[in-house]
């Protein structure tokens, strides 16, 4: 079970708690997690990635095990601690606009 923690705006949009648990079939990658998240919460479609290019939105960041993995390949398998649920997969809204 993958544990995903979302920023407040996304949890409100999804009507979900800040942390949600997801079943991810197959290899656990950034793309697989976002796919599973959008499937479970359709309101999040287009919120994390541009719906046309499917690229991560510029002000959205992904962290795993304390590391910013936003610029890694979407298809790279994530660390065991994320796969096992020991660590959260963090979706972070970039601090900007101040």
């Amino acid at each position: 079970m993958i544990r995903v923690r979302m920023p407040q705006h996304l949890s409100a949009l999804a009507g979900a708690e800040r942390e949600v648990e997801l079943d991810v079939a197959g290899r656990v990658t950034q793309k697989a997690i976002v796919d599973a998240l959008e499937l479970r919460f359709p309101a999040l479609a287009g919120a994390l990635r541009d719906p046309h290019t499917m690229q991560r939105r510029p002000f959205v960041r992904f962290f795993a095990c304390g590391e910013d993995i936003s610029h890694q390949s979407q298809d790279l398998e994530l660390p065991d601690a994320i796969i096992s649920g020991k660590e959260q997969f963090l979706i972070v809204a970039a601090i900007s606009g101040g």
Partner: protein, 370 residues
């Protein structure tokens, strides 16, 4: 007893203000979608409890919310706005070419004849239609793909389609306004379009006969006389008596003819309202807030200041932030960049601030509930 509901979009959420027909005491609900920019909220003329809200921010993109109970609860609906075909390019500020890219919804216009139909005006400028209550959206691409489309360039706020006027008498006739392209008219429900900008003169365009490139801020009409259109252009207040085929200036004695809003009285087709500001850089008039009303369809204007601040006031009113109700004594409402919403229950003769400290107001719509 009738009631009035104000739908306000702001920089940090939506607010709904409700009153009975006396329009003295107001209940305020919100913020709905706190922290998000809400460019527009509008209700269906067929089912006033059906509302659409445009929710967006730079982090998480565009989302569309729908309410079926007058704003007590909301549900996200479709937010996929895909341009038809290969969208190509439009002009950028510096004359370079930029690919068409969807950014946000500026304006919703629910159909007055089909409850599940709603139009959306978006940035980069295009017109979309949903036939299923906002669940899915399809572009009416004849507008963007018309001859002038590649020549359109953004105004300071972006290349936005911000105004949609559905003709109340001529079936199939639609007007839209785009900054900074101009007005376009369709006679076939949005399939094909022609520019409707003859008579507009914009100093920044070298060609005085330019068919497009005009920074139209807002157009409005009266439902009983839809062939007469009123326009607040970047500079100049304009009028057309022939459904946009020609325009002529009616700025008359206004202290400035720059502004964003324009609207028409609910029962008097020749009574119109504007809120002038000094210029494109000074979005105020000498520290005072003044609505101007013409009862003669233009040229002759009177300042309406009773109840409005006349000292140290430097707020602006954006293009979608003025609206009227349809009670017997027509109510007029507007929201400011300072977070105030002012209301007049007597056609503008007197005003009261019904809220004073909202986030910066982007849009105001009014529903008259009977």
């Amino acid at each position: 007893m009738a009631a009035v509901r104000i739908l306000a979009g702001t920089r940090k959420g939506a607010f709904i203000l409700s009153s009975d027909e006396r329009r003295k005491d107001w209940d305020v609900s919100g913020p709905h979608f706190p922290g998000w920019e809400v460019y527009h909220v509008k209700g269906s003329p067929l089912n006033p409890d059906r509302l659409y809200a445009s929710q967006s921010n730079s982090w998480f993109g565009q989302h569309v919310q729908r309410s079926d109970d007058g704003g007590r609860s909301w549900n996200p609906v479709g937010n996929l706005f895909s341009y038809e075909g290969m969208p190509g390019t439009h002009q950028f500020y510096d004359g370079s070419l930029r690919p068409w890219e969807f950014k946000r919804v500026w304006h919703f216009e629910p159909s007055p004849t089909a409850e599940e139909e709603v139009f959306a005006g978006v940035e980069d400028a295009a017109l979309f239609l949903s036939k299923d209550g906002g669940m899915t959206w399809g572009e009416l691409s004849g507008l963007r793909e018309s001859d002038s489309g590649p020549l359109w360039a953004p105004g300071a706020g972006g290349l936005c389609l911000h105004t949609i006027v559905l003709d109340s008498l001529a079936a199939g006739r639609i007007f839209v306004a785009i900054s900074a392209a101009g007005v376009f008219r369709s006679e076939d429900n949005g399939l094909t379009w022609t520019p409707s900008n003859k008579g507009l003169v914009s100093e920044y365009i070298p060609d005085p006969q330019a068919e497009v490139g005009h920074c139209v801020h807002k157009i409005a009409t009266h439902k009983t006389r839809p062939e007469v259109l009123f326009m607040q252009k970047h500079w100049d207040v304009m009028r057309s008596d022939n459904a946009g085929q020609n325009w002529y200036e009616i700025s008359g004695n206004l202290p400035s003819d720059f502004g964003f809003v324009i609207d028409v009285h609910a029962h008097e087709p020749d009574t119109i309202y504007v809120i002038p500001i000094k210029s494109d850089s000074e979005h105020f008039v000498d520290g005072s807030l003044q609505v101007f009303r013409s009862r003669t369809g233009g040229y002759e204007w009177e300042a309406l200041i009773n109840g409005l601040p006349q000292r140290n006031c430097y707020v602006n009113v954006l293009r979608d932030a003025l609206a009227v109700d349809s009670l017997d004594s027509c109510g007029v409402y507007f929201g400011t960049s300072g977070g105030q919403i002012y209301a007049s229950a007597d056609s503008g003769d007197s005003w009261q601030a019904i809220v004073t400290d909202l986030p910066s107001v982007l849009s105001v719509e009014v529903q008259t509930l009977r």
